[in-house]
């Protein structure tokens, strides 16, 4: 009758964790959206006399190696990180989901062959591929988004493929066919509608991976070109000055860590909520 105490405890913990993560994410989103309005300084204006400072009254979170305001740069960095990650996930989903569903619907040898190709894509080391592609395509927002998006579409393809396969053999699909529904109708009204939740969970996890990949590439100098700030790029630059002042490099690291963690926790929670077997 009584629930196992460990389950109760973990559920209570998860609800605080969710609130906490939600707050972090909302703060980050607001910072990104309102960076121009509420950012205390111009993120690009340099001040040679006040480099690598710890927090002061003028610079609330200190300054970087060129005397630029770190708070403003973090806010603008959030904009780049989130924009790149969200756009990349959107591309991955828009390419991957229709591909997976189409292959599940077509079936036969085409399906087997194409899914093997997708598996090969999944097995490739992501950063390595991204470095190769970006080395040729050059830096900048668009190539970065496109590359990360293409890096993660196979995961969407695999998830939606296996989901679509399991839905297509259900009775309600047969019933819909018995009513004269054509392929497009069935895909839209019977298949896609029953996999929104799974896609949402996949998107949330891919979002955190995309953020880390973007940060990694920017760290290596393959992301958005300077002087536009992004978290990965800030970490990459400021790490060189860690012996002069460790403070500046810690800030973007915390921002990245907290955001990725928040996205993951929310993704986990979403999965639990949407999974009927775990609900209640």
């Amino acid at each position: 009758m009584a629930r196992a105490p460990s389950i109760v405890a973990s559920r209570r913990l998860s609800s605080t964790a969710v609130t906490f993560s939600g707050t972090i994410l909302v703060v980050m989103l607001l910072a990104a959206l309102l960076a121009d309005l509420i950012g205390p300084h111009d993120p690009l204006s340099i001040d040679p006399n006040r480099i690598l400072e710890s927090p002061t009254r003028t610079f609330w979170l200190g300054t970087d190696e060129l005397g630029r305001d770190l708070l403003s740069r973090l806010m603008h960095g959030a904009r780049v990180s989130l924009a790149v990650a969200i756009s990349a996930v959107a591309i991955a989903a828009v390419v991957g989901v229709p591909l997976g569903i189409t292959l599940a619907y077509v079936g036969g040898r085409v399906e087997t062959l194409a899914m093997r190709v997708v598996d090969v894509f999944v097995s490739l080391p992501e950063i390595f591929i991204a470095i190769v592609v970006l080395a040729f395509a050059g830096g900048g927002m668009t190539p970065l988004i496109a590359t990360i998006g293409l890096l993660y579409f196979p995961q969407f393809a695999r998830v939606s493929h296996s989901m679509a396969r399991s839905i297509l053999v259900r009775d309600h699909v047969l019933a819909s066919r018995s009513l004269g529904a054509g392929p497009l109708w069935i895909v839209r009204k019977e298949v896609v509608i029953n996999m929104y939740s799974v896609i949402a969970v996949q998107a949330s996890f891919t979002l955190s991976f995309a953020m880390l990949t973007e940060a990694g590439l920017s760290f290596l100098g393959l992301g958005v070109p300077a002087p536009t700030p992004s978290w990965g790029q800030m970490i990459g630059t400021l790490k060189d000055y860690i012996y002069i002042n460790a403070w500046p490099v810690v800030l973007p690291s915390i921002a990245l860590f907290a955001t990725v963690l928040a996205v993951n926790v929310l993704g986990d929670c979403l999965q639990d909520r949407l999974n009927p077997e775990l609900r209640r």
């Binding site: 009775d171 047969l174 819909s176 066919r177 004269g180």
Partner: protein, 325 residues
């Protein structure tokens, strides 16, 4: 002759290609359903009832296929149609009701929308008109508060109500023929009778013919005009319902009827429920000869050869050597 028939099935053969070879769940089935009539397709599990129904809808997926035969629905030969022509027939002229309404309804969509869907596929009506029609249909199938129920999801309805929704969907376009594949099997006994009555009511109201697939002989006795008994993919007997129950001609039909418990018979510890020993032969092991002979109390030498389907009296067909003179 075909003018009075809603459905004519001739020598229908449906095969499945398996690694062990070809199997034939439906092996030369023929029967007819008159316009507005009710025919029951009876047989135990594995006799080919459901595959027959899906073949009639042409919804047999690979590795299965319809290998031979003719299916004529109101004079249209369904097996010659293209897939898109067939989609015009499905749902409009020919509708199907499934055994388990919970899985046959889309769990993520409101039931009203699912009823409206048929109308939107087959008739050029607006979303709003279709929804209004859907609510009317819900009322016709006896769902109280239809406007509210139309906004419910399948899991919010009871089993009986869900099956009523399925009936509403099937009847939405006034089809010529409704295939009902064990529509009451998944329901509580008390609800079964109500749903059965509704189905017959709706069938009378729309003037549709009804092919009712079941293994419940009680249901057969209640509603059927004619009965087709299926065994291992073949028709073993076809007759008017009353005559079939009065004087079953095939030993299998006889055994089936004998295995229905008789609640009026006097109780005694010696009385045992009659049963048929053994099971339906595996489709992979069917050699020549009568397929029922291993379980048949009247089997004899001639049963080693395939019995023909004969007509011992007008309006009755039997596949048994006992009736071949």
């Amino acid at each position: 002759m075909t003018a009075r028939q809603a459905l004519v099935v001739e020598d229908l053969v449906t095969v499945f290609d398996t690694p062990e070879g070809e199997i034939r769940p439906v092996d030369g089935v023929s029967f007819t359903i008159p316009k507005g009539g009710i025919v029951c397709l009876v047989g135990e599990s594995g006799s080919g009832k459901s595959v027959t129904a899906l073949s009639l809808m042409r919804l047999i997926d690979p590795p299965g296929r319809i290998a031979a035969g003719r299916i004529q629905l109101g004079g249209i030969d369904l097996l010659t149609l293209t897939e898109s022509e067939m989609n015009h027939i499905r749902g409009r002229n020919l509708a199907m009701i499934f055994q388990e309404p919970l899985t046959a309804l889309n769990p993520s969509r409101r039931v009203g929308g699912q009823i409206a869907e048929v109308l939107r596929i087959h008739r050029s009506v607006s979303r709003r008109q279709a929804m209004r029609h859907a609510v009317d249909l819900l009322e016709k199938v006896g769902i109280p508060d239809p406007a509210v129920r139309a906004r419910a999801y399948p899991h919010q309805l009871s089993g009986g109500m869900r099956q009523r929704v399925m009936i509403a969907i099937a009847c939405a376009c006034d089809p010529d023929l409704i295939l009902a594949d064990e529509p009451t099997t998944a329901l509580d006994v008390t609800v079964q009778a109500q749903v059965l009555r509704l189905l017959v009511d709706m069938q009378e109201r729309t003037g549709s013919a009804l092919l009712f697939i079941t293994h419940d002989l009680g249901v057969v006795a209640e509603i059927a005009d004619r009965v087709v008994v299926l065994y291992a993919g073949q028709v073993v007997e076809e007759a008017e319902a009353a005559r079939l129950f009065d004087s079953p001609a095939h030993p299998y039909t006889e055994a089936l009827i004998a295995s229905v418990p008789d609640v009026d018979a006097p109780r005694s510890p010696k009385r045992r429920l009659a049963s048929i020993d053994g099971t339906v032969p595996l489709l992979t092991e069917s050699g020549p000869g009568c397929r029922f002979r291993d379980r048949c109390p009247k089997a004899h030498a001639r049963c080693q050869a395939d019995p023909p389907l004969v007509e011992p009296e007008a309006g009755r067909k039997v596949r048994c050597w006992l009736h071949v003179s």
